[in-house]
Symmetry: C2
Subunit: 355 residues, 2 copies
């Protein structure tokens, strides 16, 4: 136990009041810690924590928030730098600036990963139409993405050949972009890793993800992912965590190539949708693991007692709750008032015997 451990009764601040903040607040409560959520808009997390409703440019509200807690974390990677400046003068922010800087910018992220010897897709920076044309000519089919502020498939355009370049470039609306080669992957896996304040790294088993329309649909965790991939994924996550001197939980999305090699697609410096299965299948889930890390507590061991499949409930799929409640699964509803299309409203997790 590091000396800096925050004792029970301490308060953690959470920037962002969505479902991730909500599940973090619940995890904190389980450990006798208080949570204080800062969110400019509607905040499902406010049902289970103290809530400040204010903008990220409200210096006074940010300072009062920071003074009311012992550590600050966040549920989304696009925290404005100005807000962080304000908070960091008062209380530690975990994971730190470096993790945010890297994951806020797809180009920096790729450069960071390549710099520590981790394979990434072939890519090129795209600032103007000519750079895009050159990139498509060199790389072939790929995806043009804004460097910043993309999520759930937003800010992305597929390019099959030079003829698609114009439309794709237009879709970026002038934002700095990155062109990435289309990777012929067999499947996508993600690993949820954690690093404590003492530098110890613990990973959950990787899960296999299925997306539809750019949104995660299911994550499945079984023995079928294979021992080699499990070990490689944990090593990659560990290398990322150590290189960033990271404290907290990270989600690392990877492509499994036909030969079994792994290529990192994206880093999320926070608890991650593909780690929700840990709530039911592990003694310490990703949310508690994150709280433990940022509070300087020992990490849980990450072992799972069961196989698990997590399925997201998107938009009006959450209306299936009466039927889902009658099935043997862990049902989670996020308390969001309005079921807009594409919005994550809840999820279910099914368990089966560990393989």
């Amino acid at each position: 136990m590091p000396e800096q451990a925050l004792p029970p009764g301490s308060a953690i601040g959470i920037l962002g009041g969505g479902q991730l903040g909500r599940m973090l607040a619940i995890a904190a409560a389980r450990l006798g810690l208080k949570a204080h959520v800062f969110e400019p808009g509607a905040a499902p997390a406010g049902d289970v924590a103290r809530l400040t409703t204010a903008g990220y440019d409200d210096a006074e509200a940010l300072r009062a928030f920071a003074r009311s807690v012992d550590v600050v974390t966040y549920e989304f990677e696009n925290v404005p730098a100005g807000a962080l400046d304000m908070i960091e003068g008062i209380v530690p922010v975990r994971p730190g600036r470096r993790a945010l800087a890297v994951s806020q910018d797809r180009l920096e992220e790729k450069a960071f990963l390549a710099g520590i010897g981790i394979a990434v897709a072939e890519h090129a920076a795209v600032g103007c139409r000519e750079e895009l044309e050159a990139a498509v000519a060199r790389i072939g089919p790929g995806i043009l993405k804004t460097r910043r502020l993309g999520y759930d498939g937003k800010g992305q355009a597929r390019i099959r050949g030079p003829g698609d370049a114009d439309t794709a470039f237009g879709a970026m609306a002038g934002a700095p972009a990155i062109y990435e080669a289309l990777v012929p992957f067999e499947r996508e896996v993600s690993v949820i890793g954690a690093r404590g304040l003492d530098g110890i790294v613990v990973c959950f088993d990787p899960g296999e993800n299925v997306h539809r329309d750019g949104i995660l649909r299911t994550t499945t965790v079984t023995g079928a992912v294979g021992r080699g991939i499990r070990a490689d994924a944990a090593l990659i996550a560990g290398r990322i965590l150590n290189a960033l001197d990271y404290v907290g939980v990270v989600g690392v999305e990877m492509f499994v190539l036909p030969g079994g090699g792994l290529l990192v697609n994206e880093i999320a410096p926070r608890v991650h949708n593909s780690g929700h299965w840990t709530i039911e299948a592990c003694l310490v889930d990703q949310f508690q693991q994150h709280v433990r890390a940022i509070c300087g507590w020992p990490l849980g061991d990450g072992a799972r007692h069961s196989d698990a499949t997590m399925e997201n409930l998107i938009g009006d799929e959450a209306g299936r709750w009466p039927e889902l409640a009658a099935r043997p699964c862990g049902l989670h509803l996020y308390g969001k008032a309005e079921a807009r299309p594409g919005r994550k409203m809840g999820h279910v997790t099914r368990l089966s015997a560990k393989t």
Copy 2:
């Protein structure tokens, strides 16, 4: 799904803001339901729910509370009848009056159980010293208990022979009492049962309880409890639930007699300390089961995927959190400010392979 099911977004009211209320509020949040806690004193549950701080005799506060929710439940059995009267005029209270009346009075409880054919300890009502003397002469060694308001061994006095009667009677301070025979039991088990609004009954596997100084220390759930006892305990719980037309979770404490027979010691019309192991070992735990029941949702199936041992952290034992956090167990701290002797501050649950 009964038509009366409260949809996600509905609010449940909880009378009592201790650790049980806190864990109920968390369970409600998981299902997208809101919680509103009513508590006159310090309220750990207020960290994870809306909180009204007011007395049970504050009619205005009770009415506002009742109007703000869709159903009311409670975390303790000694809810004043006047408060219930006020609330019931506005919103349903589950479990209902009958369950409270029976469990608030040890004598009524015994009469109810005997009346539905369930074995209880030999006992006698004690209103005066002469009645106690007659009871001790007839029953032999036993325990004198106040009929009402006892918990965690409070309001009880052991009687080994006629010489103890005077002191024991004095300890009741004039309160109506019941004298119960000392039961030569082999062990104590408890079963957590639930009954839905549709009348369906589901039980968790019974656990074996160990008490010290009248306070529950550990509950252990393994296959060793035996198939016969498991079945008998579930049948007894089911009979109680049906006889009370009960909606919600009940805790039933039983003695296992040398021959394997079961004798019911006590009914708690609420989630119960001896059911905390279900958080880690079941897909739907006792808290969510209770929330499902009172909201008219289908019950979860009660199966456990693991063996479990729950250990309470009493008084300053919660100071062991740094060591416990480093062990492979589910750690729960209740967020109570002051670790008074005998106070339940948290608990830990260890899992092992199901037997």
